[in-house]
Every structure is written in structure tokens, then in C-alpha cells.
Subunit: 217 residues, 4 copies
DNA sequence: GATGAATGAGGTTTCATTCAT
DNA sequence: TATGAATGAAACCTCATTCAT
């Protein structure tokens, strides 16, 4: 089926070599991970624009010098974080779409997808936010990661759309639906403050998915 | 009529004052505007994270000192820019939804809305991108501006949905649709590079709008 | 009698010309005065180190540009302020010492002097504080003003000491006594917070004056 | 024993930390000390108002960035300097008053105290000047340090006064005497230029101490 | 006589980055 | 492997200062 853009080569195969060329051992990897965790944690609170190496190091309980043993700059740590996410979730997101019996109960399937996607996006909001920003700003490294992360799910939706009597272009439908999920998750807070209940939100989104992809009124 | 969240008080009514407390005259306002223009221009090229006062000043043909007469920092300039956008487009976006004959030709109406929104979002992408980021990061000042900008259109869609036999909750539907438009516009480039034609995109989006809001299969 | 250092030429005869050479008219003088008042007012709150032209101008309800019409810098405004004080009080301080019947009731006389001096110093604390600092730091312009301000009173005390059976060198005694008064006034707050009542303070100081100058046990 | 205000908790027990929160090691402490020395040195020449971070750094043979590792601003360096003085001299000043045989030879004792105090104040004039200014301007941090520095000596004098037949309130007497010493030391130069010999000065001051504290005519 | 407006100049402050330990 | 410590470089920001109106 349509495979364009589905570069299945995961971007994250980059080696984890430390700045001095040595391959980090167990302790080193732990430090690296602590730095990534610190980065993620800070993103909950701090605007991406204000995220600094010093802060990450302090949050991780280590020194800036150590940070530079593992990442050349903040952006790279972000890339690593995003990439980890891609590695970890590519499969799961794909299965989220695939493992449904769309024929038997499309409504139920759509609900599961909506629910799962929203939850995924909400849980990883801080990182995904930056991933999105990077993509929008045209940074190809971020874009590739984003593509890889969503490729499985998007392709699955495309295939599904193509196989059903979906009312429009399968690819476009899949792309738009996935984007919508991302956006809704990111602005969920705003929508709920505006008086929309979480349940209504999921219903609405599920409805759009079903009608857009499977086409059953 | 659903009025929740429709704070019609525009956030931007704060009086314009220079940093020393004085109200700027014509010359000052012109300078201020040049600074805003420069900021917008730079955002086309430079990542928000890398936007510096020095650069804005240079681009505007002034000195940093002058920048600080009008804005306390880059973020504030961004707020002003976003706010101007809100002031300028609140009405137009509302009309974009309202001035359609949804009954006679819902498809045509939906297309117009999709087209108009996408174009608006595309034209002002750099500023809107930051506005979105700020909102997502929880900055209330950005959020208020975003709310105001979209309030008219969203409310209009809500009313429309409420008046038609839309398949779900009117508010949720309107909110989701508007968000989708924003997202699609922002990631249009990615989608098109992925092989989706602009036409297909508009068709798909228009279809979703129609089915979600007006509910005509 | 001892006249050393008693340069009776008042330092403050400097002309009030504005920076552009014109002699200010009534309106100009009023502005100048407002600037001085503002300076004095700010010194109540702001550390001398942090006193800026911009702040003075704002406090006076004018612009920095106007400030520069009357004073070349903050220090000069301070000098003017101190000088005004010298002009205004030189005589009074002298009389404070002179107009007493030291022979009839030295205790009463000493009390009056103590009281009067403390009050004077307390009332003008902010300016006198800077005057003192300038003197201590060796700035001759401040020193001259300080000398002029205190000359009359110090000389009077010196003469008094010389005429009485004061236990030490008249000049030294007079100088030390005046200094003590200044210091006590400046640190009154500290002393009172330490549990010393104002009355005890005045009594003690008066006692020292009497014993040091007039020498009556 | 009069204990009012004798907060024996030295203000300077705060632990030394670099700006990034780490506890400095030997090398760091040496640098910190060099910065303090540089500050003290400059104060001999430069008015407090004109003391800048850049200059201190240069004088210390480092960069401004290094300064900021140890102090947030010039004022804090001054506080540290004053505090060190307090730590170093609190005891000595106390002993200066205590280690005298006031009964056997009050005049000799008073002379020693006068001499010692004047010398102390003269030697550390630049720092003490700023300490005094800070106190006068109401800065509590400076005030606390000043209190601690003088507490021992002042209390000793108070006790002495209480035990002798001093003519006034013991506390007030002690406070005033100590203040007088400070002031005389600071303005010694002026007084001497005015024709008062150093010897006369010490005599006068000693006389005042004796008569005020011990009360022996 | 007053002041909006602009800005040069310079101090402040941060931060990424390195190096020796 | 980790990190104290130092610092160049760069951005920030303020302020004194000027000038045209």
C-alpha cells in the first residue's frame, strides 16, 4: 500500500557514544538517562525557550560538564528524548489502530483509538509539544522522528480507509485524523476549561475518526 | 446561545506605554511597529528559541535600547504580535463562518471555511505557531489571546452545530474542528511532502467540518 | 579666636545657570526645586548607590532631559541639596549654641543644644548621610559644605570651651562633641531598638556636652 | 548583666555556597578571598557608589563571570567583607574593653580603649564606612553585622558603667561612646586638617569615655 | 522651558563550554 | 566517570546623555 514517507528506518539508531568517543558503560548510561529524565521533568514546568543546560544538570543532580559528556546541546537531548519516544511507541501506536475489529464494531474501535491516542499524547505532552514545534519550524531531525513515530498508525489508518468506503482520499484522511488527535490532546485543557467534558471530547473525536476513516454514518 | 468562555473582552485593550511610563506619540508608535514587523519577519527564518533582542533591533534598524523602550522582552513582543492578530482577525474569522448559506449548500460553505481557515493559518503561521506553543505551555496570556482570536468562529460553529442535526455535542464539535484546522495548517507542509495534494487536504477537511457540524452525510 | 578651617565663604554661591547658559526664570527655578525635592524624597527610600537620574526625573514628574538642564549629574544635585542645607542652617546651628545662658544653667543649655542638634540631624538625615559619606570618602566639595555647615556651631563651642574650665583641648572637644551628635542622630534608630529610650539618649548626650565643653561635673 | 540586644549569634554563619549551589573547595575559596581582597583594596580609592563588578574582577585577576560564581552583586561582597570583619574583631573589641584594670587606673584604661578603637576604625575605615552607610540606610543585613561587631564591646562598657557610678543610663552611655569613637575615627582626617593634633583627639575622647562610663571627674 | 525619542556606551548577567583533576 | 572551577563570548539591560521639536 501507500508507503510514501514511511521511512521505516528508525532515526534513533544513532550510537550512544559519549563526547570523548568512549562507549558508556552501565553507570554512564544511567547518568545519561538521568539527564534525559531531568529534561523531561523540567519541560513540565519550564518553557522550551528557557530550558538551559545548567538547569538540566542541576535537576539531574550532576554538573554541566557531565551533561556535555552525553549531549552536545539541549536540542540534542530533546532529540534523544523524542527519539526514545518514537522507539518505544511506534509499535504500540500501530497496534492501537490495528488490533481492532473495525468491521464488527467500528464505533467501539474508533473509541479505543481516540482514547488511546489522547492518552498517549497527554501523557507525553511536554516532549511531543517540542517535537511538534521542531517539525513545524522545519527542523528535519524532528520531522523524521515525528514521521517515524506516527508512520505505523498513519499507514494503518490509510490502509483501513482505503479498504473501507471512506468518503475521501485515504492518505489525507489518515493524516488529518492523526493531526487532529494530536491537537486535541494538546489543547484538551483549554477545551475542558471552556466547558467541554472529557467524555464529549472523546465521543466527538471518535465520531470523526469513524466517519472519516470507515465512512459509516 | 452558548456563551461560555466567550469572553468578548479583547485582551489587547491594555494601553500602550513605553518602559518609562510615558504614552508614546506617533513617532514612537511607528518605531514600535517596526520592531513588531521585524519580530514577525525573523520568525519566518529563526526558531523561536533562538530569537534575540539584538537581532530584532538590528532587523528593525534600531538599537536594543530602543527595543526595551517598548517591550520588556522578546516574549512580550510576541504577545503584542499575537494580540494584534487577535484584534485584526477575530471579526473576520467569525464572518468566515457566519457569512455562508449553510442550508442551501453546506458543502460549498464547508469548503469556504476550510479554505479560509487554512489560508489564514498558513499566512500567519510563524506567529500562530508561537501562540499555540505558549498556550500549550500553559501561559495564560497566550491562552487568553488564542481564546479571543478563535472565540467568534468557535461560537458561530457551536451555534450552527446546535441548530443543525450535528451528531455530537455542539461545543466539543466546534472546538475540535477549529483545532483540527489549526493543526492541519501547521503541518500542511509535512502532509504535502508525504504525498497528499492540497486539494485532497481541503476536501478532507471540508468533509469533516460538514459531517461534524452540519451532520449531513 | 580659633578660626582655622572656618572658611566663612559659603560654598553655595555657585550660580544657578541652566546647562544651556540661560539664567532660569521663575518657572525654571520651580522645576529645579522640584528636582531637588524629588532627590531628597527618594533618598528616604533608596540607597544612595542606587539613585539614578531617571528616577529623580520621574519622581519630580519630569523627564531626564529636563534634569540635565539644571544639573550635570546626580552628585551635583546632591551637592546642591547639601549646600542649600548649609545656607539654611549655618546661622541657626550657630545660634543654637550661642543663644544660651551657659553660665546660669549649663545643664539646661546643654540639653537645648543636644535636643536641637539631634532634631536637626534627624530631620535631614538622608541628605546629611550622603554629605557625611562624601566627606569621609575625601570629596572636597562635600567636605567644604560640611565644614561650612558646622563651622559656626563648632567655633561657638570652641570659644565656649576655651572660656570655661573645660578639661581638654577646646577645638578637639568641640569637634568631637559635634561629631558625636551627628553620629548619635544617625544611629538613633539602632540605639532605640537596642532598648535605649530617647530621653536617656538626650540626657546622656547633654551630659557629655556639658562635661566636655563647660567642664562642670 | 545587661543582655538586651546582645544577639550572640554571629550573622555570618551562613554557609558559603557558589551561585550554582555547590560548596566551593579550596581553590574556589581562594578565588573568593581574592575577590574580597580586591573589593577592599578598591574601596580605598573608589567611591562606593562607583564600585563595579568589572573592576573588582579585574583587580582580582579574574573575570566578571567568576565574580558571579561567588557573589550575586557588589553589595553582597560588601556584606561578606563586613561580616568577616565582624567575625574577626568581635572578640578583640570586647577584650579591648575588658582587659583593663579600670579600678586601678581608669584614665590609663580609657586611653587604651580610645587608642585601640580609633586604630581599629582607622585601619578598616573603607569597609566600616560602607557598613555604617548601610546601617544608616536601614539595611538590616548591614545593621545586624554592625550590631554583632560592636555588641561585645558595647555590652562590656554597659556592664562597666552599671558597676561604676556613671552619671547616666549605662546602656545609653555605652552606645553613645562607641558611636562617638566610630565617628571620630571616620572624620579624624578632617579634624586633624582643622588643626587638632592626634594626641589632643585621643585625650579628649579618652576623657569623655572615662567621665561618661566610669564617672570619675 | 520642556520633553519625546533615540541611542552609545558600558556594566551586568548568563551560559555554554572547556580543562585539569 | 564525574565535576569543581574558570572563563570567553554574547546577550541583556540600564542609563546617562543628546537632540530635535
Amino acid at each position: 500500500m501507500t508507503e510514501i514517507g514511511t521511512s521505516d528506518a528508525s532515526p534513533g539508531d544513532a550510537d550512544l557514544r559519549a563526547s570523548d568517543g568512549r562507549v558508556p558503560g552501565r553507570r554512564g548510561l544511567a547518568t545519561r538517562q538521568r539527564l534525559l529524565d531531568a529534561t523531561r521533568t523540567l519541560l513540565d514546568t519550564v518553557a522550551y525557550r528557557d530550558l538551559k543546560v545548567v538547569d538540566i544538570a542541576r535537576e539531574a543532580g550532576t554538573s554541566p560538564a557531565t551533561f556535555y559528556q552525553y549531549f552536545p546541546d539541549v536540542e540534542s537531548a530533546m532529540l534523544a528524548l523524542a527519539d526514545d519516544l518514537g522507539q518505544a511507541w511506534h509499535e504500540d501506536l500501530t497496534r492501537l489502530v490495528t488490533n481492532r475489529d473495525w468491521e464488527a464494531d467500528p464505533d467501539e474501535a474508533a473509541h479505543r483509538v481516540a482514547d488511546g491516542m489522547l492518552e498517549f499524547w497527554t501523557r507525553h505532552k511536554p516532549v511531543l509539544r517540542v517535537l511538534d514545534l521542531g517539525s513545524m519550524e522545519g527542523d528535519l531531525r524532528f520531522r523524521d522522528i515525528r514521521t517515524f513515530l506516527l508512520a505505523g498508525a498513519t499507514t494503518a489508518l490509510t490502509d483501513l480507509a482505503a479498504a473501507s468506503d471512506c468518503p475521501g482520499d485515504p492518505q489525507a484522511s489518515a493524516g488529518v485524523v492523526v493531526g487532529m488527535l494530536a491537537h486535541v490532546a494538546n489543547h484538551q485543557h483549554g477545551l475542558e476549561r471552556w466547558g467541554v467534558s472529557h467524555e464529549d471530547l472523546v465521543d466527538t473525536v471518535a465520531g470523526i475518526i469513524r466517519r472519516t476513516i470507515v465512512g459509516v454514518a
